[in-house]
Amino acid sequence: LPCSVPVRSHYVDWRMLRDVKRRKLAYEYADERLRINAIRKNAILPKELQEVADKEIAALPRDSCPSRIHNRCVLTSRPRGVRRRWRLSRIVFRHFADHAQMSGVQRAMW
């Protein structure tokens, strides 16, 4: 039978797993958060309404907040030194670039 399920079911470490969960929740609650924030952040509606909206947004799950997402390295789960364009940490990037496996990447010399 051809396997339709991904073979590797384990992320690199638990921190990466938690980051994945946060991303999923953030995607789910993105619309709601946007709308409640639209009510909060304007000068037209009465302040009482805005306070109620504040309480509502605080009641949402904490991991639904997009600011909790941290761009880790995709292969090693390194939290620092990650280049956004390649989603890789500097060490992995260097490794691949030296083995000529990064398209269009060359050692700088000038």
Partner: protein, 329 residues
Amino acid sequence: VRSAEKDTSAAPKDNTTAEESKRQESTAGAPKQKLLDLIGNMKVEVSYRKKLQLLKASEKKKQATNQLEGPDSEGHQRSTEDIQRGKPLNPDLVKAASAVASSLPLDKKQTESELLAQLRRHEETTDKQKKGETVNIRNVISEMTVKRESPAQRGARISGRISLELDEDGERIRPDRFSPKSFDSRRSLKVGKRLNIFTKASTEPEHKLKTVSSPTIWDLEFAKEIAAITAQPPRNGFEEMIQWTKEGILWEFPIDNEIGMEEDAEFHEHIFLERHLEGFPKEGPIRHFMELVICGLSKNPYLTVKQKIEHIEWFEKYFEEKKEFLQEM
């Protein structure tokens, strides 16, 4: 010669045509001879098969003449052959055969009889084919197909070799042993067309649909195999580009900017969203707020019309829930 003919055109036409024809005959006598010679030479193109047939026909005629001790006349021969075949030929064909025989510079009677015999044979073969008597091997082989047995049938065959059945005496039935039971068991009961004597005629198209809609894994694998074998690598750059376009790697030219943005909605449904504001109060801060929301949505090219309507409806629901709270204020 032609210039002389043209000069005589001054005279009345009938006379000139007669004179011209006479002159053509006299002057064209040499080419006509040449034509006849050509036709006579052309007869050499007859194939060996036809020659054999002619020989056989002539032999048969000789036998017929030898058997019959009557007068040797063409009509008598023809009548005997007719009786032998038992079918009259098309009179036009007969006339044509006689004309051809007369044109050829050979023995007219013999050629005529040979041609007629050949025609008769042609008719016989066509009649036979119409009836379906002759066995054309080519047709038979073309209709035959290689039988692919499913694993179920294969398993049945293997299991059929070793039978665990027990006879009345307690001995195992060997498949080789002749017994009426084994014959029945080999022929399954559900094979073949049903007579529908005891049950109503079941809807056959349903069965057909069932067999079609459940492709087994083996069928899928077979299909994959065929696809892999028939997919030859591209011979040139054009075929490579065609392959990429089919896969979706290469865009289709001329580039259509609206690929993937398939929406039935027109631009006015995106921009004029005030019609959705009917559930809101006409005055007050909420209306002001919603008008701003609509202004923002109308400028948003990324959302679909459905998403925009959902956005507005969410706000409607939210403010409905907060109505009591707002009226307290």
